[in-house]
Homo-oligomer: 211 residues x 2
């Protein structure tokens, strides 16, 4: 969505337009890199090229902008790799490996900061940012539930033993994903993450039995 800025003023050239998607993308990269507290409004103004009043008019405040950025991130990344779990033509291990591989790729993408947006921005939140902490925690819980629902569905289809604790298995896989997020932020490459995904897939037969 683009909004004409200063359209009421008579200007010679074309009116400057505020490109919402572009601003969200740039703000996302800033929050992703420096966290919520580490990103100031002046950083956001400089990165987006928008004026502070424009950002305020569009998003109310830094918290509002962050929530819009989170939605943008979910639409651009989370939805994409969660789609791997909905692929009915893939077997359980195929769908899970595609999901984990897609996450590893997201965490090491060249166009975005390394690591996971949600894990990185949830770190170092001050007491005054409790609402942001809650929003991020809720989003993490939703992702956990999506993974659990996928495992339960595959269990109903007989691809996972009926006595497997799918809630626990989802927590184990979530722990592994969070570990990949930290590793990626520390500079671990896609190839190295993919190798860790392969190791997890290698022990999957035992994971669905042992837990």
């Amino acid at each position: 969505m683009t909004t004409a800025i200063g359209a009421q003023k008579k200007t010679r050239g074309r009116p400057k337009v505020f490109d919402r998607e572009d601003a969200l993308e740039k703000a996302m990269n800033l929050f992703w890199q420096h966290g919520y507290e580490g990103t100031s409004l002046s950083h956001l103004v400089a990165a987006t090229g928008a004026k502070a009043p424009t950002l305020y008019a569009e998003f109310t405040n830094k918290e509002g902008l962050f929530c819009a950025v989170l939605e943008h991130y979910i639409a651009r990344f989370t939805a994409q790799y969660q789609a791997c779990l909905q692929n009915k033509s893939a077997t359980f291990p195929e769908a899970l490996e595609a999901f984990l591989t897609s996450i590893a790729r997201c965490f090491t993408g060249e166009d975005t900061p390394a690591g996971c947006f949600i894990v990185s921005t949830a770190s170092g939140l001050g007491a005054s940012s409790q609402h942001i902490a809650d929003v991020l925690k809720d989003q993490h819980a939703i992702q956990d539930q999506t993974l659990t629902a996928f495992l339960q569905q595959r269990q109903q289809q007989g691809e996972i033993p009926s006595d497997c604790d799918t809630v626990h298995l989802a927590k184990y896989l979530d722990c592994f994903i969070c570990g990949m997020a930290v590793s990626a932020r520390d500079g671990v490459s896609y190839d190295a993450l993919f190798s860790l995904v392969k190791t997890t897939m290698g022990v999957l037969p035992q994971l669905i039995k042992n837990n």
Copy 2:
């Protein structure tokens, strides 16, 4: 170490003393909770009860204080759980489980913020904090090497198959530990983390074969 403050002034009561260990403990909790960028000198002054000139005299600047805090953390926690790896009377699985359990306990300790000091403080570092990023990365690498050395030693003793890639196994376990750090920071309990440790231990026979 304690240093007399204002000892040259005539005061009625005993001179105020600067308790270095106590200040480091309080500064550690602050950095652990809010990250490096999220902790200001005024927060540190308020938490430690020391005056800014005292902190400057002792640690030069915020960076110096952080490095002293990191050493304090290593001596208090890292050294403690790494000692589990040096226990010669424990079998390989016993030593590894004690190590992972000790980490899970540290990440969920009641007296300290949830999660891992190193993982939490490494998040959201700005471009001006490259030195801190490097110090934390080096420390993470040292921990990785300690774990690899332990695995190689147990491999030499015949407890791990000779064709197992111990460097890769250490990276997998490190990824799991980082995942526990994020989970703990998100509020996952010690019992839940211990349950994840048990799952990892359950697939250990396959992990040392498959990787």
